[in-house]
Subunit: 327 residues, 2 copies
């Protein structure tokens, strides 16, 4: 029986993972008897009707930039910690000190607090493809160096190194996952530079206009929310001996061009939907996107049992099914 | 005119760099009017007769693990900081907390203090090939990922990421140098696992017995003390625009096998000297050495003007000349 603690449980991926654990009473096939959901604002619990009687769910507000939080959370003695809490990329870039305080010091304090418990819990850490920075080869291999071009990517890369060393010492049993850009994100358009990858599918399916700020030749590395939750579940319960000390893994996304996204939308939902995409070039966004990875060779993740989406059509179909949109 | 601050100036490389600056009144061809030498114990100043009148030399004791030290040093407003101060590999491995406090927190505090001065000094940081960990290809390319297998290597890799991000933000103007193993180290045999690479040359040249604990097929990545000082001088004054944001560089050592070391000793000093090398296999040392890099492709460093030793014979000849040993 396992006690799972999710940090960042109010976020889109955290909430989905929580819902899945509550629904199944398991994570990655292992039974869960206690689920603690923490975020900077107290997260919602999964709907009561979905929670098995044998599963105890607790929610709490916890700011990991607060020095006492890590000790309080580690004191709950979780067996599995899924650490998704972070200041996002744009904010970490604008506010250097807050980014380092939350994304680096917060994680370092968590590692120290888990070390102090002496029982080396599994720690699943959400890293990001932002640890990579241009120039890089078209297909980035598993052995490619990390040269982040943002403070956020730097903080994630440092945390990767820390969790490898803390694991080598036996203080935690960690796995770091470099998550692809999550597409299709549900909800409203946001101002993230990557937002259009979701927007050009989501808005037309809702009958709304979407803005495409870049060329249709742009290619990017994507995974569905469902695939991302699957990565976290697998990392929570996999045999970490198989990592042979290399604790950080680039997750298998799929490499999709904007043109392929549009073609998929046309195939599944018709040309009328595609007409809702307006091409309004934005040089600032184009310049940012030009520094992002386009494709990876994720041989390692696949051989370790991480399962990517089958193709972009499946991503769109799953999104539509989850949102109750008929294609 | 420049004020140069050397942290770790009591060490072998720091003292040599200080002596060279004092002798020439320059670093990397640029004039120096002030030289501050700091170490955890107050370092010796270069011999007074060697110091030009236009150069002011100050020595001081400074423990970079002390929270106030970084501010005090940054308050001296150096134009160029050469940061060589660190807990060494074996000690950082045995004492996890001290290693992180000195090698990570100490450097982070230095970066913060230099940032606070607002004048973005050049910072030359001594990283190490310990940032790499097996398995790796026979010749490690410039784009190979960092997977350190020690806490020391982890701390150096984290500092590399920090100085790249602090430089990107314009807080410092940093260059990180991954130094090869320094051979021939003068002085007494020490207990470092890498000590034999120096010992099998140094002891026979002194007429003493040397112990070789590994096979003669072992190959390693080496640079002379003179080459290492040259790397630091070049990094102190190079045009950092040429780095294009990639602030950390694997220095050009030379890849030499133990057999080649022995053959060189024979060529230069005769078979009688070689007979002083006793082969006493040590499985523990052999296992450690098996995880070390053997060879690199350092195209980048060479194209940026870092100059390696010509060959191992030159390393031995320079050592002998410096120590007053006739070959």
């Amino acid at each position: 029986m396992n006690h799972v603690l999710i940090l960042g449980a109010a976020g889109m991926i955290g909430a989905r993972l929580a819902a899945r654990i509550a629904e199944n009473g398991t994570i990655g096939g292992q039974s869960v008897d206690r689920l603690t959901l923490a975020d900077i604002i107290e997260p919602a619990a999964p709907a009561a009707g979905d929670i098995p009687a044998a599963l105890s769910v607790q929610t709490l507000a916890a700011d990991i930039s607060d020095p006492e939080t890590a000790e309080r959370l580690a004191g709950l003695k979780p067996d599995i910690v899924v650490h998704l809490a972070a200041i996002v990329s744009g904010e970490a870039e604008d506010d250097f000190d807050t980014g380092y305080r939350v994304n680096l010091e917060g994680t370092l304090r968590l590692l120290e607090a888990l070390r102090d418990t002496g029982h080396a819990p599994r720690l699943v850490f959400a890293s990001s493809i932002a640890v990579f920075g241009a120039p890089f080869p078209d297909r980035i291999p598993d052995e490619h160096h990390l040269t982040p071009l943002t403070s956020y990517g730097t903080q994630k890369a440092i945390c990767e190194l820390l969790l490898a060393d803390y694991s080598r010492k036996g203080f935690v049993d960690a796995v770091g996952l470099r998550l692809p850009t999550i597409v299709v994100r549900p909800g409203k358009p946001n101002r993230a530079a990557s937002g259009f990858f979701s927007s050009i599918i989501r808005e037309p399916l809702n009958g709304d206009v979407a803005i495409l700020p870049v060329s249709t030749e742009v290619r990017h590395w994507m995974a569905s929310p469902r695939a991302a939750v699957g990565f976290l579940e697998h990392a929570a319960t996999m045999d970490t001996e198989r990592l042979q000390g290399r604790r950080n893994i680039t997750m298998p996304g799929i490499s999709v061009s904007v043109q392929e996204q549009i073609d998929t939308l046309r195939d599944l939902a018709g040309q009328q939907r595609v007409k809702l995409i307006r091409h309004v070039p934005d040089e600032r966004i184009a310049a940012i996107v030009a520094g992002w990875p386009r494709d990876f060779n994720t041989f390692r993740a696949r051989s370790l049992g991480f399962t990517p989406d089958a193709n972009f059509a499946e991503i769109v179909q799953t999104y539509a099914a989850e949102e109750g949109i008929r294609l």
